[in-house]
């Protein structure tokens, strides 16, 4: 019984939230890694691309809600997601035409792209704040819980409750679908294969007749879909605020680099590594130990490694260790 209680506490506060958060980070890191692998630069505007996609989705969601259209127990935002993806796709392709294509023709060094993306980041930052404002926006509707802590306690008779939110379930399911689709696309379709060829060896790909502009276009559209999905899922699960999306840039980059930049599998692995370490390092394990340990072992302290204020330090720490010991990341990506 005590072991079960300990497991439930751990699930409730660490495993379930970290899995959902990890899925969101993985989707974000996949976008970063695709751009790095194919376009060969670190896109600092990624966090704000997520914010833009989420913003369009929120506006459409409000429109649908106003018109009385909902998805029943599921959040209406899922219905609005394709519109968000389309708008973000337009924005990214437009940015590429206006900004990045110029540097591509110049055959500019990667660091110049990075600085250009920093500028793009500030502009997107401004657009999002200008349109929707800087405040918290809530847009989730439908059933909030699949199982709430109270119901769980009543059903199982355990002392501890386990809450499983609809948004967490949707995050995990949608992330699985998105990742499956992405890998199918990259491994099985002609366009996907040409993208991988372009990523592996640009000159050879050009020689075999692959159209670079088309590869770039498809990459941006994929990134738009991934970023918008990640942004909307994060907003549904937590809340939408432009500033927090900007802050997400750090864990997302940490995830992509830890996994190995340019390696999609690595991005997913990295997302979960970062999420689980962020949450478990700042979690207070006192209750878990209380249940597992023998009678009279209750610790006085909280058994918390780091205070929750240092959440971001965890991503930084892992990033540093990986860059020092294995600069190409765990899954052997390109070195930074």
């Amino acid at each position: 019984m005590d072991l079960l209680n300990a497991l439930v506490v751990l699930m409730n506060f660490v495993i379930v939230p970290a899995t959902a958060y990890g899925a969101q980070l993985a989707l974000g890191a996949l976008g970063v890694t695709l751009i790095y692998g194919i376009l060969r630069f670190s896109n600092f505007a990624h966090g704000d691309t997520m914010a833009f996609g989420a913003m369009v989705t929120i506006l459409v969601t409000w429109g649908l809600q106003g018109a009385g259209i909902t998805l029943g127990p599921l959040p209406t935002a899922l219905l609005a997601l394709p519109v968000g993806i389309a708008a973000t796709g337009l924005l990214l392709v437009g940015t590429d035409r206006v900004v990045y294509r110029f540097y591509r023709r110049q055959k500019a060094k990667p660091v110049i792209y990075v600085i250009a993306s920093l500028g793009v980041m500030f502009i997107m930052n401004g657009i999002v704040r200008f349109i929707i404002g800087v405040d918290d926006q809530r847009f989730s509707d439908g059933e909030r819980f699949i199982i709430s802590a109270r119901t769980f306690r009543e059903i199982t008779g355990l002392e501890e409750g386990l809450a499983f939110r609809t948004s967490q379930a949707i995050t995990i399911v949608v992330a699985l679908i998105a990742v499956a689709l992405l890998f199918w696309f990259l491994n099985r379709t002609r366009t996907g294969k040409s993208m991988r060829a372009f990523s592996d060896n640009e000159d050879l790909a050009l020689l075999s007749g692959i159209n670079p502009e088309r590869v770039v276009l498809v990459t941006w559209l994929l990134v738009a879909a991934l970023a918008t999905t990640a942004g909307v899922l994060y907003g549904l699960d937590k809340s939408f605020k432009p500033f927090t999306y900007f802050q997400l840039l750090l864990p997302i980059f940490a995830a992509a680099i830890v996994g190995g930049l340019g390696n999609p599998l690595g991005a997913i692995l990295g997302g979960f590594i970062i999420a689980f370490s962020e949450i478990s390092v700042t979690y207070a394990f006192r209750k878990v130990v209380e249940y597992i340990g023998p009678e009279g072992w209750e610790p006085d302290g909280l058994l918390q490694l780091l205070s929750t204020d240092y959440k971001f330090a965890v991503s930084f720490g892992i990033l540093l260790i990986v860059l020092l010991l294995r600069p190409t990341g765990i899954m052997k990506g390109k070195s930074v």
Binding site: S148, L162, T244, T282, K287, T308
Partner: protein
């Protein structure tokens, strides 16, 4: 020619007004945007209600009219200083009602008001740090210090039969001050605080913070935060994870925004904010309703009293200059004298003009103690059926 005529008419009208009566401006420096933005409108309406009452009475300094200039202190140190500068230099106000948050009041006071000798009367800054600040006698507040609220909250919790609590506070002057005074009072009265943890405002997600509070345990969770910031985030995460279902809400967390968001989910939660059951409070709520706003919103009555005190002190001093009237604020607020309730500002001004002492009771039974802060009576509230209901007074 036409322009000339127009200009001379305008000049004549202006100078005519100036001859007949002095025009007094009061700054209303409140956090209209930011973490306590839903409290500000009710407070500004309260302060402006007092100004309108005095203007219509035609009795202040021989018929002066009082107008209000609003400034946004945004609950932020830098913005508050800038807004106070603007009120004093550009709008040349004669006194300031504000600021709203302690973290905005302290910098505005020390950087702008004290160097300029400007009187500030805050309706809602409750940090204990303001009690000991060297203010040259120009700062007053119609809200009590949190040193007092900490004691009241501790008694409130123990009287309801809870003796272990977890405590989280917003990481600023207000939150820390209240958390310190509460933790000390609660321990002294025999209760146990399992964990005192700060939270940062503006995060998307507070489940990690709630995780450590839950690990520490406690019957109830005291949320010393802001209603439009991290406070509701903490409550949301605590409800979602089933960590706590009863919350203690101090003054920064009481308002309709909290029941709009959580409804019956937080039934049984309770708290307190400055307020009295005095005759004055009831009269004030009536006046506010007639003026078309909700007088029961937190600190609205305190704002009315803050504006009233400034104007009554001006009448005693016979001058609208801050250096002249600052010393009279304590006199009009405290006994002895003819008691004055809300809606009687005109009568009070006439009494003062006739040389009679007054004791301003106002909407919150104002009694200034120490360096000029309210002695503090609290309204005890409970969330019943998804609405904030008053259950008593302390």
């Amino acid at each position: 020619m036409k322009k000339f005529l127009l200009a001379s008419v305008a000049t004549a009208a202006l100078s005519g007004a100036a001859f007949a009566q002095e025009s007094i401006t009061l700054g209303v420096l409140l956090g209209f945007t930011g973490p306590a933005e839903s409290l500000a409108p009710g407070m500004a309406d309260g302060a402006e209600l007092a100004m309108a009452e005095v203007t219509t009475s035609d009795a202040l300094l021989g018929g002066a009219s009082v107008t209000s200039v609003r400034g946004d202190s945004a609950c932020d140190a830098a913005l508050s200083v800038a807004a106070a500068e603007r009120l004093i230099t550009a709008d040349s106000v004669n006194g300031i009602v504000g600021a709203l948050c302690s973290g905005a009041t302290i910098p505005a006071l020390t950087n702008v008001a004290i160097p300029n000798g400007m009187v500030m009367v805050s309706p809602s800054a409750t940090s204990p740090a303001l009690s000991t600040l060297e203010d040259n006698g120009i700062f007053f507040r119609t809200a009590p210090s949190d040193a007092r609220q900490g004691v009241v909250m501790a008694e409130n919790i123990l009287d309801r039969g809870f003796d272990t609590v977890a405590l989280t506070y917003t990481n600023n002057d207000y939150g820390r001050g209240l958390a310190d005074s509460f933790a000390a009072a609660f321990a002294e009265l025999g209760g146990t605080v399992t964990l005192v943890a700060a939270h940062e405002d503006g995060r998307a997600d507070y489940s990690a913070e709630v995780g450590s509070l839950a690990a520490a345990g406690g019957d109830v969770l005291v949320v010393a935060g802001y209603i439009d910031q991290g406070g509701p985030g903490i409550i949301r995460a605590a409800l979602d994870t089933g960590a706590f279902d009863t919350f203690v809400l101090p003054d920064g967390m009481v308002g309709n925004a909290i029941t709009d968001r959580f409804g019956t989910e937080i039934n049984g939660s309770f708290g307190q904010f400055p307020g009295t059951d005095s005759e004055g409070a009831a009269i004030y709520f009536g006046l506010a309703e007639a003026a078309g706003f909700d007088g029961t919103s937190a600190f609205s009555a305190e704002a009315y009293d803050a504006a009233a005190l400034i104007m009554l002190a001006m009448q005693v001093a016979g001058s609208s200059a801050p250096r002249d009237y600052a010393q009279h604020i304590m006199d009009v607020a405290n006994a002895p004298g003819e008691p004055i309730l809300p809606g009687e500002l005109g009568r009070a001004l006439e009494l003062i003009a006739a040389g009679t002492d007054i004791d301003y009771i106002g909407a919150t039974a104002v009694e200034l103690i120490g360096g000029g802060e309210s002695s503090g009576a609290y309204r005890e509230i409970e969330i019943i059926d998804g609405a904030v209901q008053t259950v008593g007074f302390r």
